[in-house]
Symmetry: C2
Subunit: 129 residues, 2 copies
């Protein structure tokens, strides 16, 4: 059993974040030692690591929570996992498209800018109605 600092080190999840996950009911409340300190089992730390990976993959915390539950359920509902993941991939692709659109727009806006200009073409463009 490990104190929260050690659990944080082993899982890569910050101390404050671990307590936050507990408050939010994302992970079960850990045991407490006689001095009131949280004590984490290897399984608890496994959960934190799982959540960390989900978050690194960009899943919303609510999804990460769902995936954790699916992972601990009796039957692994592969279909539900895939649905979540595919929905998330679609979101990611949408974001990529949006950012590429932004990138192109920004490049076009700054295309005619150079330091010698009296009036800035980008500002002019932003002012047009």
């Amino acid at each position: 059993m490990f104190a929260i600092g050690e659990a944080s080190r082993q899982s890569g999840v910050g101390i404050e974040t671990i307590r936050y996950y507990e408050r939010e009911g994302i992970v079960p409340k850990p045991e407490r030692a006689s001095n009131n300190r949280r004590m984490y089992s290897p399984q608890d730390i496994g959960r934190l690591r799982f959540l960390k990976k989900c978050r690194e993959l960009g899943f919303p915390l609510a999804d990460a929570r769902t995936l954790l539950k699916l992972s601990e359920g009796d039957s692994e509902d592969c279909q539900s996992v895939m649905d979540l993941a595919e929905h998330h991939v679609l979101n990611v692709r949408d974001k990529i498209k949006e950012l590429e659109r932004l990138e192109a727009a920004l490049i076009e806006l700054t295309a005619n800018c150079d330091s010698g200009n009296v009036s800035c073409p980008m500002l002019s463009q932003l002012r047009t109605r």
Copy 2:
């Protein structure tokens, strides 16, 4: 002079957002009519439209504010505008890269998933230490 609803319609900036920009000092406080209602000049509405465009380009609000000030300053500091824009483009590119990395990772994770599986390959992978 226009009431806030009309200013919102003309600028595309939501009513609550307009009041928020005022609270935050992003835009100057508008005149008030005798009944205490905010009254917006065409110039005020122009500012809101300017901010809207900046936000649509993904600039943080603080940058949008800076751009607005640059736009209203005596000399248009094209260099400062470019610096802001280029910094922002770099951020956008970083985000794109990160999202592409996520997309690839998600696809790989779900590659071996299909509905007939007893245990889910993606969950197994997320559980590995």
